[in-house]
Amino acid sequence: MLLPCKLQKFDMGTLNPLWFFVKKSMTVALFGITISDRFATVYSLTGTSMSPTFTTSSPGFPGYLKGDIVLVEKFCLEKYKFSRGDVIAFKSPSDHKREFVKRLIALPGDWMQISDTSDILKIPEGHCWVEGDNKEFSLDSRHFGPIPLGLVQGRVTHIIWPPQRISKVERKVAMERVRST
């Protein structure tokens, strides 16, 4: 007895390897889920709405490894603090099971010009305007309007795969179309 309150260790006569494996996997799964929900996670991107910023894969394994894999950080969700030009991941307003990755163009309270028309729109409080970099092939706020910030699931910070494309995702601000108050 080295210390007064040492942790009681189980002494299994015949160590059951299956039980050991199950316990370890449960622990790893718990850690993984918590980290992925609260700190950072990785996404494999599909679709062409964000080229050339991201090049994407075809769905289905091994397609996931041919496209870009990105790191999505969740620290920004603490205070919902974003900057114009960030690339964010959010739940689709028309289908909560699907997530999109687009660039955030305007924050709440901004006045912005919807491209190609002369309409000026004020972004309501609690909402933001998102657009894909590849304008012709992107389904974004030009179709479904400003989205509530509560739908945002994280901010894309780095591309981590393939190795030749490892880089930080840059912020691109559309100064000519957005006027902040």
């Binding site: 080295l2 942790l7 850690f31 889920i33 689709s92 307003p93 289908d95 509530p148 509560g150 739908l151």
Partner: protein, 197 residues
């Protein structure tokens, strides 16, 4: 002088020897085991809270807002149990009380009742306080709209003091954080939160 010096030296030698005898490796292993256990417990709590069932406090300023759900949920002091399975499975029904992030401020969590799912037609009156039975001419503005795909229509039970879909429109389903199914505090109010249409 020399005896004092040699006493100090022998004291230091003794202290160094005792220091070396402390079972540092066991202490370190013990500390790691305990820290790992605490981390595992914290992760377990997070997973249960996010995917199975959680607790929500009703407070006037921060999390779940006050008077909009009277008399179902009190102004302050109530604690409700929120289950996370139904929204994920898409098995919410009209009449459920849900906890959702406010579309006007994502840092605010509000509790409201679902009165329409996607595709449903909802009718609502703006400003019911203005209507009065004693007025000879009663002008009532009744709106009718269809809830768009992927959205829900929410209203507070206390229609006189609630900011809900009548002000900010149908909300996307993705804002819903859980379904409040049971009150757990105060003890005299413990019970299931019923459906009301």
């Amino acid at each position: 002088m020399s005896t004092a010096g040699s006493r100090i030296a022998s004291f230091l030698r003794g202290a160094a020897a005792r220091f070396g005898k402390v079972p540092w490796r066991e202490i370190r292993e013990d500390a790691f085991e305990r820290a790992a256990l605490v981390l595992k417990a914290a992760c377990f709590v997070h997973v249960v809270n996010a995917y199975v069932v959680g607790i929500a406090f009703v407070r006037p300023s921060s999390t779940v807002r006050g008077p909009s759900m009277l008399p179902t949920i009190n102004l302050t002091g109530d604690v409700v149990a929120v289950e996370r399975v139904s929204p994920r499975w898409g098995s919410l029904a009209v009449g459920d009380v849900v906890i959702l992030l406010s579309p006007e401020n994502p840092r605010k969590t509000v509790a409201k009742r679902v009165l329409g799912l996607e595709g449903d037609a909802v009718t609502f009156v703006i400003d019911p306080a203005r209507g009065s039975a004693f007025q000879t001419v009663v002008v009532v503005l009744v709106y009718l709209l269809q809830v768009p795909e992927g959205h829900v229509w929410v209203q507070g039970d206390n229609i006189y003091s609630s900011r809900d879909s009548r002000q900010f429109g149908p909300v996307p389903y993705g804002l819903i954080q859980g379904r409040a199914f049971c009150k757990v505090w105060p003890p005299e109010a413990v019970g299931l939160i019923g459906q009301k249409l």
